[in-house]
Symmetry: C2
Subunit: 219 residues, 2 copies
């Protein structure tokens, strides 16, 4: 499968590396055609992946993974180009975290709006699925890192796109179908993004980013 | 133990009923000395509990449980009186949910502040412990309702008060010590209150309020 990764940070690298390892064609996009971080990643995967601009990546990918810095996601997607996103599934991983005032970060948007919604509004023809934004990238690509089942919450307006993402997360990374919870339309991004306010504190007190939540339900 | 419950909604009733059942003296406070909801609760516990104003309750209690409607919590605590809260543990259960614009609710305060913090600032001599705000009241008083262990996140500025609350939640309701996670100072209320944006959506898709989270940690 031809997959676009937007963003060359640790999330983009982790996802891109796993995807080339399992045989997919990955083009990792950044603001410039040949960024230093992109080159480092390409070297780290022995040239099995490609790098390019956001637009080149988005044009290449049959599916797009938005792993940009949340503060810049919309601008990065504008550079990617609405025409390159049209009709495609956009797995929107980034969170609108604002680290400019120190730790813990606040959110640049929340409560009555969210980054997921902003992106779906700006690119109405993309099929945005908010996913993977509630966990560390090592767990994204290897949920079995944790010693028991745990849950991933996704949302988006397009039911078919959410089903396809659920299938792909299983195929790519081993996420169990029953551990992926569809929280509803893209407005539910508010919930999964606002959870980051709890996540960053848990990271602090647990002393590790390697954790996730399991929903325990009443009988 | 003499316990003040502020608020006569379903949370106050659930906590008050359990506490009188296990032999504590409970005074449930509301805006008026003898509210209809308060009388109903007193009848429901066969007169084993008392009712009164917020101030009467707070003066009576060795410990205060704030179960008011989050939109009115600060005003209710003002009526309770700073002098009646001084030095006491205030278990701050309510969330700043705003239902005025329909479902799902938004928060009246979030991101860079929280209701827990507002209350601690307004009543600096109370020992505020944010707790129990992340679960349905049936689970608050009976964590064993859920089929496996799950976690409760608390926070507050006073370490001794948090330890005492942890002990009391075990003694009163059966919360296991190891399932209560201290998230840090009262600013961590932002995280547990903002989690409500996720909680209300989960309630919707799960079709039941009887669920909670278990933290699954890496080895």
């Amino acid at each position: 499968m031809k997959i676009a990764i937007l963003g060359t940070g640790m999330v983009g690298k982790a996802l891109g590396t796993k995807l080339v390892e399992i045989g997919h064609r990955v083009l990792m996009g950044s603001r410039t055609a040949s960024s230093e971080a992109g080159q480092e990643w390409r070297d780290s995967v022995n040239g099995l992946g490609q790098i390019g601009t956001f637009a080149e990546a988005a044009a290449f990918g049959e599916i797009i993974l938005d792993c940009t810095n949340g503060a810049n996601s919309i601008e990065a997607l504008r550079q990617a180009g609405a025409e390159n996103l049209r009709g495609k599934i956009l797995i929107q991983v980034s969170n609108p975290l604002d680290f400019s005032k120190g730790m813990p970060p606040s959110l640049t948007v929340c409560n009555t709006d969210s980054l997921g919604e902003q992106i779906q509004r700006e690119f109405p023809e993309a099929r945005v699925v908010k996913a993977l934004n509630t966990i560390n990238c090592a767990i994204m690509v290897q949920p079995s890192l944790l010693p028991e089942d745990h849950d991933l919450i996704i949302c988006g307006n397009n039911a078919e796109a959410k089903q396809e993402v659920t299938r792909l997360l299983g195929e790519w990374f081993g996420w169990k179908h029953e551990c992926i919870i569809d929280l509803g339309d893209i407005t539910a991004s508010r919930g999964t993004e606002m959870y980051l306010a709890l996540w960053v504190r848990l990271w602090g007190v647990l002393g590790t980013p390697y954790f996730n939540l399991k929903l325990v339900r009443g009988r």
